[in-house]
């Protein structure tokens, strides 16, 4: 049993915090093509994602939510990643892609927070 090397101080990097305090694409959307919500009942994190899709392209994306810095920053970063991209890109997106965009290492418990928006996004495009 070796002690794991946690780099906890790393997770609140300025990039994450900036996306937490001033999330991109924050807010709701009138008449979205699709709107999906999800939550992590174990910690109470909530995310709603709104997509406007035209010609298989995400022409606009917004989200609202509440929760920890990781879940909210992750939603902000994820929405930035997909804005203007076509659906194939979104469908091909892997968890690792989001993780490397976040640029931090997370413990298993916090990974669930980071992936909440990812789950909701995947859910929202599954019908297309």
């Amino acid at each position: 049993m070796s002690e794991r090397d946690y780099e906890l101080d790393n997770i609140y990097m300025e990039f994450i915090l900036e996306n937490y305090r001033n999330p991109k694409n924050y807010g709701s959307m009138d008449n979205p093509t699709v709107e999906r919500s999800g939550s992590n009942p174990l910690c109470g994190d909530e995310i709603t994602i709104y997509l406007r899709i035209e010609n298989n392209r995400i022409v606009d994306v917004r989200f609202t939510g509440r929760g920890c810095a990781i879940s909210q920053a992750s939603a902000s970063i994820l929405t930035e990643m997909i804005k203007g991209k076509d659906l194939d890109y979104v469908k091909g997106l892997k968890e690792e892609d989001l993780l490397s965009a976040l640029g931090i290492e997370l413990s298993p418990a916090r990974l669930k927070c980071a992936f909440l928006s990812y789950r909701v996004l995947k859910d929202s495009v599954s019908g297309f």
Binding site: I11, N22, P23, L42, C43, G44, D45, C68, I70, R110
Partner: protein, 426 residues
Amino acid sequence: MVNDSILDVKRIREDFPILRRRINNKRPVYLDSTATTQKPRAVIDAIVNYYENYNANVHRGIYRLSEEATDLYEKSRKNIGNFIGAREDSIVFVRNTTEALNLIAYSYGNLLREGDEILTTIMEHHSNIVPWQFLSRKGVKLVFADINPDGTLNMDDFIGKINKRTRIVTVTHVSNVLGTINDVEEIGKIAHDQGAVFIVDGAQSVPHMPVDVRRINADFLAFSGHKMLGPMGIGVLYGRKDILESMDPFMGGGEMISEVHTYGSKWAEVPLKFEAGTPNVEGAVGLSAAVDYLRSLGMDNVRGHEKYLVSYALERLGSIEDIQIYGPKDPEKRGGVISFNFRNIRSERIHEQLRKEGIMIHPHDVATILDMDSVMVRSGHHCAQPLMERLDVPATSRASFYIYNDRDDVDALYDAIGKVRGVLRI
């Protein structure tokens, strides 16, 4: 205020090997004893001694080793029973509080019928909610008594909800979130007046204060070894003997039978009737050593120490404007548990739309940031989601104290909380 606790915490800490560990070069400030406690050397040694000298299966062996193991197991039962004022023949060993409550829900629950009611409170742990929800399949209704704004049980509401259909009243002695100490003696009287059976969830009381089953009018009392310095995997169900005798067994198998035939079986006497399969002798022996350790400190002193610590913590944390504390303010009415949250923040530095609603710093971030200073608090719903809904919060942070905590730990908590907004730059 001087550091005048009744317990000699410095000396006590030396009994706990894990407290010598350094995490990121910092001493551990363990404030999660409500979830599970650390183990003194005496308990670890009892486990080792058991396996190195006495290990055998119990009850059936004719050889001396097995007789010695049986003797240790039954003496542990007696010692632990004694700790709560109960005779050994009303002590059933289980895995934990959860199993104890499920045992009652299955075996006593068998006797309930459609239309019967079970009265509990909104501050219960999931372990004292979900097993009773299972009974709704057969039309048994689960009713929740509310709390007052200060986090104490609303007795008017409770009394208004008890009636002739109430067959079971089941209440936590101490809330694992609010810290509230319920007046179980009084609640037991009310339950018995209505002819209901009274169950006490003692998971957070037996470890922290003197508890005597006769004084609190409990027909059943459930608690966990791992929350009172004992090993994991052992817990206790105390049950009034005549009630235990009237109940069907829970699990079937070895130990709990007196005769098995292909067409049917006869049960062993209480308490063995409820202990199917090879028991956790190690766990019983370890818990007995834990009880000895607690007894040597004196449960009045343990309670006194926690009252002292929680007063100090209420005072210090209460002085932080940002922080909201849940539960009773009077240390006499609460155990050594403090749940808290940051109040909504409307800092200039946050997104204008968020600013309108305010940002609540999430307990997960609080716990992570406190952990950078090796201050370990729990954050989440604490297995009390109905209470979270009632308090209208997604989660809380929770610090809890035990015999190895001191004012230093409260100070470390205070200091670490002070860093949270800085780390988040909010």
